[in-house]
């Protein structure tokens, strides 16, 4: 048996091929639904990948990670609203704003541990959320429409949905690769050592705070870029992008897919969002023979099925879906 042909690798390879082929399916059928859905999934997978860097590898449970989606998104939205639609200006500002915010939040929150850390990151995110709600000039809690996607050179138009999708996919793959390089580098081992036993890390001579802070900023910056993509994708920004439930979704993606695993966040993002899309229809189908006409209303409660599913993964599959696939590999080997 070839060494790399493990169940996990086969699933990941299949997912990547599937992701690459989606625009072709859309072109062939003329139905853009899948392309729109998966553009969104790819962008959120990138956000989850950035969260995995701090949550999975660093043990920093940020409960406000979606705030960077909001900051990246609003940077695009506000600049576009003020007539600055050049991507060469918008994107660096979106990235810099996210990095700066992460630096501030990290500098304060990383002095705490455990529950306090969770609460402080949540508090900062909610602060920005309500700030967004108060921005009357930019649509307040209704949000605002983007009249134009970011403008780069004429040859590359983000309004071309296929091109935009491939751009998102390329950035996602780059993010996954970057995180993989980082976590296996000297820096990454410091981050993981600090998750495992921070006290010991200091005793052997590491000033862990500054490493954790840099890690926090890298994750926030990466997520800010995902926010810029998301704004361009939906052509709309609103405070809902950074509501705490969205931060919760990102955590669910990471935990469901498998914390501290290279492809876990991607697997988790696909699993969660495909379930969200398909569960209502599946429930309707299953309930129809039993309750007849009322099946549509039953399907509205699809989260009753999603919740226990997630609970099962947390209770019985510690490594998430990625962990399940790896345990298949061990059983076989």
């Amino acid at each position: 048996m070839i060494g790399w042909l493990t169940p996990r690798n086969v699933v990941v390879a299949a997912l990547l091929v599937f992701l690459i082929l989606i625009p072709i399916y859309t072109a062939a059928t003329g139905n853009p639904f899948l392309l729109t859905l998966f553009t969104r999934i790819v962008i959120l997978a990138m956000a989850a990948t950035s969260l995995n860097l701090i949550l999975g590898y660093g043990g920093m449970v940020s409960f406000g990670h979606a705030v960077y989606l909001g900051i990246g998104g609003y940077a695009i939205g506000i600049l576009a609203h003020e007539g600055l639609s050049s991507g060469f200006i918008q994107w660096p500002i979106a990235i810099a704003a996210s990095a700066l915010f992460a630096l501030g939040v990290g500098a304060l929150s990383l002095r705490t541990r455990g529950l306090y850390f969770i609460m402080i990151t949540l508090a900062f995110a909610q602060l920005v959320y309500y700030f967004g709600v108060g921005l009357d000039r930019y649509g307040a809690d209704d949000g605002m429409q983007l009249y134009q996607r970011s403008q780069f050179v004429d040859a590359i138009s983000l309004s071309n949905r296929t091109l935009f999708y491939y751009l998102c996919l390329a950035l996602l793959v780059a993010s996954i690769y970057l995180v993989w390089r980082i976590v296996n580098s000297r820096f990454g081992l410091v981050i993981q050592g600090s998750r495992s036993n921070d006290r010991r890390m200091q005793a052997i001579g590491f000033p862990t705070y500054r490493y954790r802070l840099v890690c926090f900023v890298i994750a926030g910056t990466m997520c800010g870029l995902a926010g810029a993509l998301l704004a361009n994708h939906t052509e709309f920004v609103s405070p809902a992008m950074m509501h705490w439930t969205r931060s919760g979704d990102l955590i669910v993606m990471v935990v469901l897919g498998g914390m501290a695993s290279t492809f876990g966040p991607l697997i988790g993002a696909i699993a969660l969002m495909v379930l969200e899309e398909s569960l209502p229809a599946l429930i309707k189908l299953a309930a129809a023979p039993i309750v007849g006409e009322a099946a549509t209303r039953v399907a509205e409660y699809w989260q009753i099925v999603l919740g226990p599913l997630f609970l099962l993964v947390v209770l019985f599959a510690r490594g998430g879906i990625n962990g399940l696939l790896e345990s298949l590999e061990r059983r076989r080997g």
């Binding site: 296996n184 580098s185 820096f187 990454g188 081992l189 050592g193 495992s196 005793a203 052997i204 001579g205």
Partner: protein, 252 residues
Amino acid sequence: MAEPLLRIEGLTKHFGGVVATDGVNLEVPPGELHAVIGPNGAGKTTLIGQLTGEVVSDAGRVRFAGEDITSQPVYRRSRRGLARSFQITSLFNDFTALDNVALAVQAHAGHSFRFWRDARREDELREPARAALARVGLAGRENTIVSSMSHGEHRQLEIAMTLATRPRMLLLDEPMAGMGPEESVRMIALLRELKRDLTILLIEHDMDAVFALADRISVLVYGQVIASGEPAAIRANEDVRKAYLGDQDDHG
């Protein structure tokens, strides 16, 4: 007498109304193995904490290698060459033995803001780590995950990590804790070998080990050093017998 490597002056620590360390003075010259003994609750671990910087002292000074380190953070003392092992094993349980020691090497190999190269393939980190593992008798166990190693092996790994930071002085907090007789004998042999190159402050309950190894012994009772001297003098000291050794003899 040579300039002491470690000099403790009037070191004090209160926890609420309890005095854990009460004006401790202690000097350890280079090359000495100095043992600190004392009954449970004498403040031995607090003292180690104050020396490594985890516990902030209320009063007094700590000088190490001619430098006042009283208010330096933990990591900087480690960089100066003051290394500790933990009484309760404190390792990176989800890492391999080699990863554990390699991290300790890395801590003293420049800054770690290196984001790209695979650190597990850097000979510069792996080779010294392998050597430290071999030195404590863990050759062949490099790729074992720490959580699946035995207690005795954990204690050996503790020492290997401390050694890997290339220290000038070791602070060993009960390295023999929880060991069987055979493991203890091996640890004593190891410490005797380390003693040749390193200055050591040893906190230990095992009296056989202490008297076999120590050049000098200080006896800590209720946070105060009641006696300090060579093993024979400590054995003969009446106060010590009353406070500690007599009690120890009763238990065999």
